[in-house]
Amino acid sequence: MKRSYVPYIFLIPFFVNLAVFSIFTLGFGVYMSFTNWDPWTSIGAAHFVGLTNYIRAFTEDPVFLLALKNAFIYVLYEPICISIGFFFALILNTAIKGRSIFRTIFFLPVITSTVAISFVWNWLYDYQYGPFNQALVALGLPPQHWLSQIEVLPGVPIALTSIMLMSIWQWIGLNVIIFLAALQSIPKEYHEAARVSGANALSRFRHVTIPLVRPALLFCAITATAGSLQVFTEVYMLTRGGPGNVTQVPVVWMTMRAISFNEFGYGAALAYTFFLIILAVSLVEIRILRRGGMFYY
């Protein structure tokens, strides 16, 4: 309100970060993506190559295209996860006892590191000794190579679906907690009023519950899409993009190109290409969700 210099003093850390890690990184990264630079030569030695890196990504790099496809298949775990999460939240919302215990249980996979979870699932998926195969055998079914390239659907290797299954398990808890919070923030009077005006349970659900939890759904859907397109640790730990490159995803591939192949310029180009794709998806998603309500899945 007064003493106009005060806010700027408080903003010093923000401005330092803005200058070094936001504007500079962005500008430098974009410039780098137009060069053939590798990190062990000086920047002066790099040649400006124009759009070559970007063109290469789409014409000479089949693995990148495959990785893009895989990322978009992988994201499909999310509607499943949100639906199951919402279902559990509805159940927990009616439960009177033990809600906080369930909440803790649901939250544990969320705070456990993906690296640790991957180890456990790696064992679960083990061909010879893994519990999944033992259960299949006990039911008289043939055991599966869970992390192999065998296709369950055309173009979808079983390893990818196994990774998705692990992610569903890991993130359900977070969805449950967010939805539970949303459900509990609905004032009881709304439901009472609807009941008094003669609405049955189903229409109360449709006309009171759904509209009021829609922001939470919107939030989950958007953050989860952007987040899961960037999947890294799950794939890196379970399959390293293999066997071959059938489960490769963009961020793992970018890391491999940059660190193992020393192609920083090309890696940066991959990063920005993928970023623009994610941005486009998020914008479309916000529009669809705004317009169509929640049942667009």
């Binding site: 309100m1 003493r3 106009s4 005060v6 806010p7 700027y8 408080f10 903003l11 850390p13 923000f14 970060n17 803005l18 070094v20 890690f21 936001s22 500079f24 990184t25 962005l26 430098f28 990264g29 780098m32 906080s100 909440r103 939250f107 544990l108 705070i111 456990t112 590191s113 993906t114 690296v115 640790a116 180890f119 456990v120 010879q128 000794y129 033992q134 977070l174 907690i177 967010i178 919070a181 949303a182 922001p215 939470a216 919107l218 939030f219 952007a226 960037q230 890294f232 640790t233 890196y236 970018m254 890391t255 940059a258 660190i259 920083f264 890696g267 990063a271 970023f275 994610i278 941005l279």
Partner: protein, 251 residues
């Protein structure tokens, strides 16, 4: 995971599956410490140092920024807020390569700084702090200002204590995220003794098939996860409040 950690090697590979081992091997927990590279204790100390300091810096920086965005009128406020919101849309991986180069020029590769400093800024945290601080009534701040409190004193004595729930939530979420992060350390830390817990666990992946001491691996996982579980149980209220805040901030 826990049950596997107290089995012995052969028992883990029996069919049918056993839920509880016939005689628990607690000593797996002792041998586990030396199994990964770097040894687990060193990795735990690395991670604890890195992520607690980056979380403290983060809380300071984001409450500073959140405070002025919430409570001051000044030139550029709207622009800064828009910038922060748009930054939330930019995924972290786009900055990995240029940040790596900055770290290299600063000589920060293989130092703790490479993880602490980038970890100390997060648009989400600033956003959350702003959303929370905006709910603190102006009257309280004005009253303190009239009784002669300095501008920094206002922040330190009034705003900060009142935003404890938000600080706790933001701090916890960032600490847990950092602790569980693999991609950052993978890029910036290649010198083994400096590696973090997640890299240390990751190293087990490579020896898994050769040493075949899966119970030891499971023991390591348990050791790393238990602190987080305890933390969650103690601070559940704040963690969940934080996530709810995150949800409604978007409305």
């Amino acid at each position: 995971m826990f049950i596997s950690s107290i089995k012995d090697q052969t028992e883990l590979f029996t069919r049918p599956l056993k839920w509880w081992p016939s005689n628990p091997h607690w000593e797996n927990f002792i041998s586990a410490w030396d199994l990964p590279q770097p040894p687990l204790l060193r990795a735990l100390l690395n991670s604890a140092l890195v992520y607690s300091s980056s979380t403290l810096l983060l809380l300071l920086a984001s409450s500073f920024t959140g405070y002025v965005l919430a409570k001051y009128e000044f030139k550029g406020r709207h622009g800064i807020f828009l910038w922060i919101v748009s930054q939330m849309m930019i995924p972290g991986f786009t900055g990995l390569i240029p940040t790596f180069m900055i770290m290299k020029w600063l000589g920060w590769i293989n130092t703790y700084w490479a993880l602490i400093i980038p970890g100390a800024f997060s648009s989400y945290s600033i956003f959350l702090m702003r959303q929370y601080i905006i709910t603190i009534p102006d009257d309280i701040i004005d009253a303190a200002r009239l009784s002669g409190c300095s501008e920094f004193g206002l922040f330190w004595r009034i705003v900060l204590p009142l935003s404890k729930p938000a600080l706790a939530a933001v701090g916890l979420i960032n600490f847990v995220w950092g602790w569980n992060d693999l991609i950052g350390p993978m890029w910036y830390i290649q010198y083994t003794p400096m590696k973090t817990v997640q890299q240390s666990l990751g190293s087990l992946f490579d020896i898994r098939s050769t040493v075949t001491s899966l119970p030891g691996v499971a023991a390591c996982l348990t050791i790393v996860t238990v602190p987080l579980i305890v933390l969650t149980i103690i601070t559940q209220k704040y963690l969940i409040q934080g996530w709810t805040g995150l949800t409604y901030a978007k409305r």
